[in-house]
Amino acid sequence: MIRKSRKDSAKSRNAIMFAAWEGVGKAGYLAAEFLIKAMDARPAAEIDSSEYIYPSGIIIENNVIKQMIFPESIFYSAEYQGKNFIIFPGKFQFPITKEMPASSNPAYQYACKILDAAESLGCREIFTAGGIFTMIHHSMDSGTAWGSNDPFKMTELNMTLSGEYGLKDILHPKTAFITGMNGILPYAASDRELTASVLLGEVPIYLQSLPSPYPKASKSILKSFAAATGITFDYQEIDAMIKDSDREIETLMSNFKSSLPPKERRSIFKGIELLKKKPDFKNLDKVFEDIMENRDVQDNEGLSEICENRSPLSDKSEELTQEDVKQAIVDIESFFRQENDK
């Protein structure tokens, strides 16, 4: 059931929807929260998600169940710089795997319900947003990866975003699988010929267990969204969050550094420093896959080349191996996970 607020019952025309869920670095969700505030967006509709979503809380009084709490599914709408926008900060992410059939699973049905509501609010185009782990160093600005269910839109995004924010076409056959609702919503949108694109902000691969959000990725999403839709923002607030986040990461890294014996410290931190060179993403694909799947890093010509020729650490005695880089990432990730568990 779609409940519309009275104030916004007249539907907006040609609205662009920005939908995001909590996930990698909370990047998309944080961007959605920023948009609601920056655009002064107001609740416009709500859908009942109890059929699809596992409850997020329960209230029990004197041993009797009083209430089951489900994550909210609220659509916010705003008119901003002469354009209509709908923002949907999704509070529940489905554990979708490649093996799950699309049309029969509740994630797809939930996506259809979101699209029904969006269309009833006058939505003509959709952007979903989230984070993506890449071989980037946390001191660097995040870039954005993008994809679209519409080849014309893809060309447009390539032209608009490639220069400043460019990473690569994530819908390349090898890397086409986008997990969760960020992937399933554009998929469901294709079935009704609605253009939907995905914006993914970069999060360093070794920060998988960072307990707090990664606002640099959110900023890259927002910049890409602004460029793609022809609007502008004042990023002061998110810049302040980035400063705080940088400080927190530096503190954690420094704690990690001091917990290591000097020899190990040098090797691990050199491995991470290497990422500052922002090596060609393509060359690191194999290493990246190995790390994500927790396999031993296989011999990889691209990375060897980076290690041997492009590394600032060209002294033979301090030469880094592929294993050093992988080990550095895995060790930091593991340290952050432990910090998180505390």
């Binding site: 329960i58 029990i60 041993n63 089951m68 093996e99 059939p101």
Partner: protein, 285 residues
């Protein structure tokens, strides 16, 4: 009502429930219910009538329906041979589509006839001593259900909790979700939760399972026959834990703290578990 549950295997004769209870157990509960399921199987002469589930709910590795003993890796509905109409469900918790899965379970139960009440049985690790009797907590899916239960089972002791389990910010267990969904259909459901010392979760807590069995027997109107073998194992477990705890002054202090009603910190709890694990080694299936 949509009938979207997947029945993987079904026998011809369906049970006829006439105001009968249904008992729900999960095979993959963290504390394990293997002993309990074996006890129920032996005393109730169980007859499986539906194997339930689908890869959409949880990846399955196959089905092994062996009427001579419980050896299953899928969810299964069974009828008591001793008390026809009484239904048991030994499930594997769904990883996806939980709402649909529970709807499917409730559809099957309603297809069996009139269910007086659904009882879910589980154990939770708690700050309780292995030397104390296991206590039980009951969560009801409505005030009326609570009243009916209290009138029917005056002798069952109930421990009151004001906040646990279930907080506004914490996802409920599948049993609580089931109870809530049952209430939407007007079916009574009681979550029976038996406390087990948190440091005995590293092995099957037979004392908790014997207590669960005793409660199940009362709920299903069966007479509880003392299981001497299980009692003996529980006694051995208690003595083994006594021996381990006596070997360390810290452990002795911590257990005495628990017995005096003091709450241990998370670090202290971890310390007890790791010390016991160190002494007896990791459990084996």
């Amino acid at each position: 009502m949509k009938r979207r549950y997947k029945i993987r295997k079904q026998v011809d004769s369906f049970p006829v429930a006439e105001n009968s209870p249904a008992i729900i157990l999960w095979q993959d509960d963290p504390n394990g219910t293997k002993v309990l399921m074996k006890m129920i199987d032996e005393s109730e002469d169980l007859r499986p009538f539906i194997v339930f589930g689908s890869p959409e709910f949880r990846p399955t590795e196959g089905i092994d329906l062996n009427p001579g003993g419980l050896k299953r890796n899928d969810s299964v509905f069974l009828e008591s041979g001793k008390r026809p109409g009484n239904i048991f469900f030994f499930g594997n918790k769904p990883e996806f589509c939980q709402s649909e899965y529970i709807d499917g379970m409730l559809n099957i139960l309603q297809d069996c006839g009139t269910i007086s009440c659904i009882y879910t049985i589980s154990c939770i690790p708690a700050q309780t001593s292995h030397r104390h009797p296991r206590k039980s907590l009951f969560i009801f899916n409505s005030e009326q259900c609570r009243q009916r239960f209290n009138e029917k089972f005056k002798n069952i002791k109930n421990k009151e909790f004001s906040t646990m389990p279930g907080m506004p910010q914490e996802a409920p267990s599948i049993n609580l979700y089931l109870a809530w969904k049952a209430a939407q259909r007007g079916i009574d459901c009681v979550n029976v939760i038996i406390e087990s010392p948190f440091y005995s979760v590293i092995s099957e807590d037979v004392a908790a399972e014997t207590e669960a069995m005793r409660i199940i027997k009362k709920l299903t109107s069966g007479r509880y026959r003392k299981d001497e073998k299980a009692d003996l194992i529980a006694q051995h477990q208690k003595e083994a834990l006594d021996l381990i705890i006596k070997r360390s002054e810290d452990l002795t202090d911590y257990v005495e703290k628990i017995e005096s009603g003091e709450m241990l910190s998370f670090e202290e709890m971890q310390l007890i578990i790791s010390e016991i694990k160190r002494i007896i080694g990791e459990p084996h299936d």
